[in-house]
């Protein structure tokens, strides 16, 4: 069996090597595909903090992904139309600056996660799953009916947003930005898991009554994790919107929430690199099998079934021979 650290580094190196090779081979689409992997992995890293460490099976994380996407879409739309955002008492200019957009996307997603978490975390189990799904769908239907920003048709952004010192229109440079964001999120997850907060959050998942009897509030711990999780997924949404230069209500859809969960299960719930390997497999299947048949989800379902039945620790669990991240 292979040590998890070795696997983690191999995955990261592979993720860097593939687009670098694509630059030399002039395979631009491969860079775009890898960027998609990185962004989906970033969204799933966010969910992994809530689901893998905190045990919160959120079926509504697309809400944060969509909020991040629409934060980008709306700010960029107002910048390209030179029309300020009118809040009645105050007008705000749009922007094409990625750092500003990321800040807004993470702040809005964090705020939404706080509000949703505050209500959802009063429930557990299947009720938590259902209430988060309901919140996600609320955003989805709101976006469909939001005619000012494209409604059902979504919103196109004609030029990719900018980052100081970089030409984000060059695919490998945009990949680099997304990869750095993913690495920062992975470092955060790694450090969080070993911190006081991670230890207590992990205990709150397993034995909330014990956490209470040592004087801590499991709900507050989970709420903070949910906020951090939502913020990271929101950032991924903003990057995803920039990758496609398009936002649509599909970013809020329950299918996307489900796909994020699937990525984590395939990679390994709670594993540091679980979301990354999960996203790699997901995008590979989507690309190659999707080219062969419209019914590629059947194969995805078969893989998921195999993993759930025979390798509860996901691909990383299979490779390390350890079912859980703490075993």
């Amino acid at each position: 069996m292979i040590r998890e650290g070795v696997i983690n580094w191999a995955i990261l190196l592979g993720l860097v090597a593939l687009p670098l090779w694509a630059v030399f081979a002039d395979e631009i689409f491969t860079i775009t595909l890898t960027t998609r992997v990185v962004i989906l992995a970033l969204a799933a890293v966010g969910l992994n903090i809530a689901l893998g460490i905190g045990g919160m099976v959120s079926f509504g994380h697309a809400a944060f992904f969509g909020l991040g996407g629409y934060a980008m879409g709306i700010l960029a739309y107002h910048a390209q139309t030179y029309a300020a955002l009118d809040f009645g008492i105050v007008e705000i200019e749009g922007t094409k600056s990625m750092p500003v957009i990321w800040l807004v996307a993470t702040a809005i997603s964090a705020l939404a996660a706080w509000l949703i978490g505050l209500l959802s975390l009063r429930t557990t189990g299947v009720y938590f799953i259902m209430i988060t799904l309901a919140f996600g769908q609320m955003f989805y239907y709101f976006a469909i009916s939001w005619g000012a920003y494209g409604g059902e048709d979504g919103l196109s952004i004609y030029v990719r947003n900018g980052f100081p010192g970089l030409n984000t229109l060059v695919p490998i440079q945009f990949f680099g930005l997304c990869f750095v964001a993913l690495c920062v999120a992975l470092i955060l997850q790694w450090r969080l898991r070993g911190s006081s907060f991670g230890l207590t959050l992990n205990a709150a998942r397993q034995t909330p009554e014990r956490v209470e009897t040592v004087g801590l509030n499991p709900m507050k711990l989970k709420l903070l994790a949910f906020v951090i999780s939502g913020a990271i997924t929101g950032l991924a949404g903003a990057l995803f919107a920039d990758l496609n230069r398009f936002v649509s209500p599909a970013m809020f859809s329950w299918q996307l929430s489900g796909e994020l969960i699937i990525l984590i299960i395939i990679g390994g719930v709670g594993r540091l690199m679980g979301p990354v390997i999960g996203a790699m497999i997901f995008v590979a299947l989507e690309h190659w099998l999707g080219g062969l048949t419209d019914f590629w989800h059947v194969y995805l379902g078969a893989i998921l079934l195999f993993i759930v039945l025979f390798s509860r620790g996901g691909v990383i669990g299979f490779l390390t021979g350890k079912e859980g991240p703490h075993v």
Binding site: S195, G198, L199, N217
Partner: protein, 249 residues
């Protein structure tokens, strides 16, 4: 120091028509072990849950060091100085022994919010956790996953987590449950030494342990305290004998 560390006054809890606890008034004094005994279904676990704040009482009050803590929830009561152990071990089974006691230490110090600094670098947390492990004799098993511990070791770990809180009073729900004769003897010896640190309200079925440890015993039957006294008082009580052995005893 207060004459009474922990006290309940007229605690009552009903589930529909069933009175699980009925006008229960007990107290716990410095340095003593006060055992609560009673047959199955007497209301002992309900009483523990009411005292620790896991279950809201219909009427009555709970005082800790002369402070009314009735309105406080479990975590607030823990912070006020109540250290609880569970009848069925409530431990983070996936985590190591060390992580379980560190959880207690983090709770005791109220410092769970650092998301970036490794807990192993928190000298206070580590020292407090190590001290608790050493006291219960689990230092050698610190890296063992909790799920891989023997039942007896889990009971020890339960106590170790409570120790990290340095509580004003312990509330222990059947710490001997499932222990063999040797394990029970070891735990009895340990609890005997613990009373000087903080008094213990002990719910226990192991009568040998209760009679060896308790300064006072209260007998709970159908939710009511039918007798309170020393070991010899309880042994001599007709009411207790009748409750345990039936009318013809």
């Amino acid at each position: 120091m207060s004459e009474v560390i922990l006290a309940t006054q007229g605690l009552q809890k009903s589930f529909g028509a069933l009175k699980a606890t009925d006008d229960v008034s007990i107290d716990l004094r410095p340095g003593e072990i006060h055992a609560i005994i009673g047959p199955n279904g007497a209301g002992k676990s309900t009483l523990i849950a009411q005292i620790c704040g896991a279950l809201a009482s219909d009427t009555g009050r709970v005082e800790l060091l002369d402070r009314d803590v009735t309105a406080l929830n479990t975590e607030q009561r823990a912070r006020a100085g109540l250290g609880r152990t569970f009848q069925i071990s409530a431990l983070a089974m996936e985590d190591s022994v060390e992580d379980n006691v560190r959880l207690g230490a983090i709770g005791a110090m109220g410092s769970p919010w650092n998301v970036f600094r490794p807990v192993s670098r928190s000298a206070d947390v580590v020292a407090r956790a190590n001290d608790a492990l050493e006291r219960v004799g689990l230092t050698g098993a610190r890296e063992t996953r909790c799920a891989d511990l023997s039942h007896g070791q889990r009971r020890q770990l339960e106590v170790a987590v409570a120790l990290t809180l340095e509580p004003k009073a312990f509330v222990m729900d059947e710490p001997m449950a499932g222990l063999g004769a040797d394990g029970s003897k070891t735990m009895t010896g340990f609890l005997d030494g613990l009373r000087d640190e903080a008094p213990i309200l002990l719910v226990e079925h192991d009568m040998d342990a209760v009679f060896a440890l308790a300064d006072r015993i209260s007998v709970l039957v159908y939710g009511k305290i039918i007798a309170t006294g020393t070991v010899s008082d309880i042994r001599a009580s007709d009411a207790v004998r009748t409750a345990y052995l039936g009318e013809n005893a």
